[in-house]
């Protein structure tokens, strides 16, 4: 347990610095934007110079840059992300409302790419250099080369337009009045295509890593020993070769989380899934810079948390991790 705590403490200290840099960086980026939230607001509502003055003052936009950064940091400490212009609601509420959808989408897509990718990787890596190994390597590379949004469109054409098996987009049937289990099924059916589009792109990564790790493990002495002991091939592949190749994939899970979040922006826009990614696009369209800043910040927090979880999982899987520091 002390091992986990050591990792936790070290990571949290580093994360605070990283988050601070993210906040300052995005603040500077948004300072560079032509026009501010008041301009965007006035465009949609109309109003005279007096009202612009009033709004600038009320939203604190007439102060110096440093004061505004300080104000922003102070507000963030109180978990206040500010007010969204396009939604006329607190940004925190808007984001929290959209977050679960994206988490479900990301989680399912990660499970798909990790599960199927590592399984196929084991299948390919069980016989390095064989036909199926070569076929899967090239096939996965081709899949990795596919733009995610385009795969989404193709899936829509095939499964929603031509075959009519699955809904074309959205997260659930509008005004269906479904509750409980039938609502969950409804959402699951709506998520099949977006999850496939997002998951299949990253499948190749896990497949290729698993395969490469296994090709490496085959050359190790303990595998030779296992084969010399006359263990069944199946057991050698699963318990000795694959098991050792699996660990780097867990690290990849954390590193990939940021990529997945980025990928979900386009996928959510293709499938009209009301999640965080689509919110980012709406923020861009509505010139809602504070909202965009909030989304970037929440994404960064999310990525840090996921990587923390992965680190802890890694410590459980590999007893060597962090052992030295805990005993020291």
């Amino acid at each position: 347990m002390t091992r986990a705590l050591t990792i936790l403490r070290r990571r949290l200290v580093g994360s605070v610095f990283v988050l601070l840099i993210v906040v300052i960086g995005s603040f500077l980026l948004l300072e560079a934007a032509p026009g501010d939230a008041v301009d965007a607001y006035i465009v949609s509502t109309g109003g005279d110079a007096g009202m612009i003055e009033l709004l600038r003052h009320r939203w604190g936009l007439d102060q110096s840059e440093l004061t505004r950064l300080a104000n922003y940091l102070w507000a963030l400490l109180h978990l206040d992300l500010g007010q969204s212009v396009t939604f006329s609601r607190p940004i925190r509420d808007v984001i929290l409302e959209r977050l679960p959808t994206t988490l479900i989408l990301m989680g399912s897509a990660t499970a798909l790419s990790f599960g199927l990718g590592s399984a196929l990787g084991i299948y390919a890596g069980a016989r390095p250099g064989s036909f199926r190994d070569r076929f899967l390597s090239i096939g996965s590379l081709a899949l990795y080369a596919v733009p995610g949004f385009w795969l989404g469109l193709v899936l829509i054409v095939v499964f929603a337009v031509d075959l009519r098996w699955l809904p074309i987009g959205g997260i659930e049937t509008i005004a269906s009045g479904k509750t409980g289990f039938s609502r969950a099924t409804d959402i699951a059916i709506h998520l099949v295509l977006p999850v496939s589009a997002l998951g299949f792109i990253y499948l190749a990564l896990y497949l290729r890593m698993m395969r490469a790790g296994m090709a490496e493990a085959w050359r190790q002495d303990f595998v030779l020993a296992a084969r010399a002991r006359g263990l069944p091939r199946r057991r050698v592949v699963l318990a000795h070769v694959a098991r050792n190749a699996l660990l780097p994939l867990v690290t990849m899970l954390g590193l990939q989380s940021a990529q997945m979040l980025g990928g979900s922006v386009v996928i959510e826009s293709v499938f009209a899934v009301p999640g965080l990614g689509r919110l980012a696009q709406e923020a861009v369209a509505g010139r809602d810079t504070p909202l965009l800043l909030g989304i970037i910040l929440i994404s960064a927090v999310l990525v840090i948390l996921i990587n923390l979880l992965v680190d802890l999982a890694y410590a459980v899987l590999d007893p060597r991790v962090g052992a030295g520091e805990a005993s020291a």
Partner: protein
Amino acid sequence: MKRLRRFLHTPEAIAGAFILALLLVMALTAPLFFPGDPQAIAGPALLPPFQDWSLPLGTDRLGRDVLAELFHGARTSLAVGLAAAAAALLIGAVVGTLAGFAGGLVDEALMRITDAFQTVPSFLLALAFVSIIGPSLGVVVAAIALSAWTGPARVARAEVLSIRERDCVAGARVIGMHPLEIAFREVLPNALPPVLALSSVIVAAAILTEAALSFLGLGDPNRVTWGGMIAEGRAVLRTAPLLSIVPGVALMLTVLGVYLAGEGVVESTAVRRSLS
């Protein structure tokens, strides 16, 4: 010649080289075969492919020549992909060298900044950058480079950490070279090979990011892009799915070609290294 033959020793590398050569020809001959504005109306709207031989791939929703758009799109994809990757590799190599060579507080600060860039989803960063500064080719290149330099920086730093202990660096110190001169004339060139090995992955990612940005309407509006063509075709996805599918296939082949050629180069240099 020998090097080229070694590069082309696997069927994958040959396929990759072929695709890239084809793409290069498309990009270079676009103004030759399709002079004038590819965004100009060339015929009736939504002409299906293979109907009219002056418009082999038909026209889109506004009557623009799809084949001409495809050729001009190759120009944009290739230009953005190569420029963004070059910029990302340059930024990464410089930051990594400075961090690794200076060490101490500079190293710590630069690596925390690298961490911060890696924590923010790179596509979200590029999206925010382009939407704030405004979509033009230069901004798109800068946005992609900004979201892709962290990998090269880490690799360069790791390499520099071992190179700075070499005798040539100690020698340069003894003859009184300025530390910055040592960093960029002695250390950086030696640290480059593993950084350059990343280039195919970065070019591929840059092309895909550019496509995704233009798909969301954040590409340069004055240029034809494959991502923009896919977005344009999306409005008639039910009746003319080919308008979205064709540029997507072009994108996929391009990225695949970059990957395959990149693997071929890495493999051929690996063979050379193990031989020497």
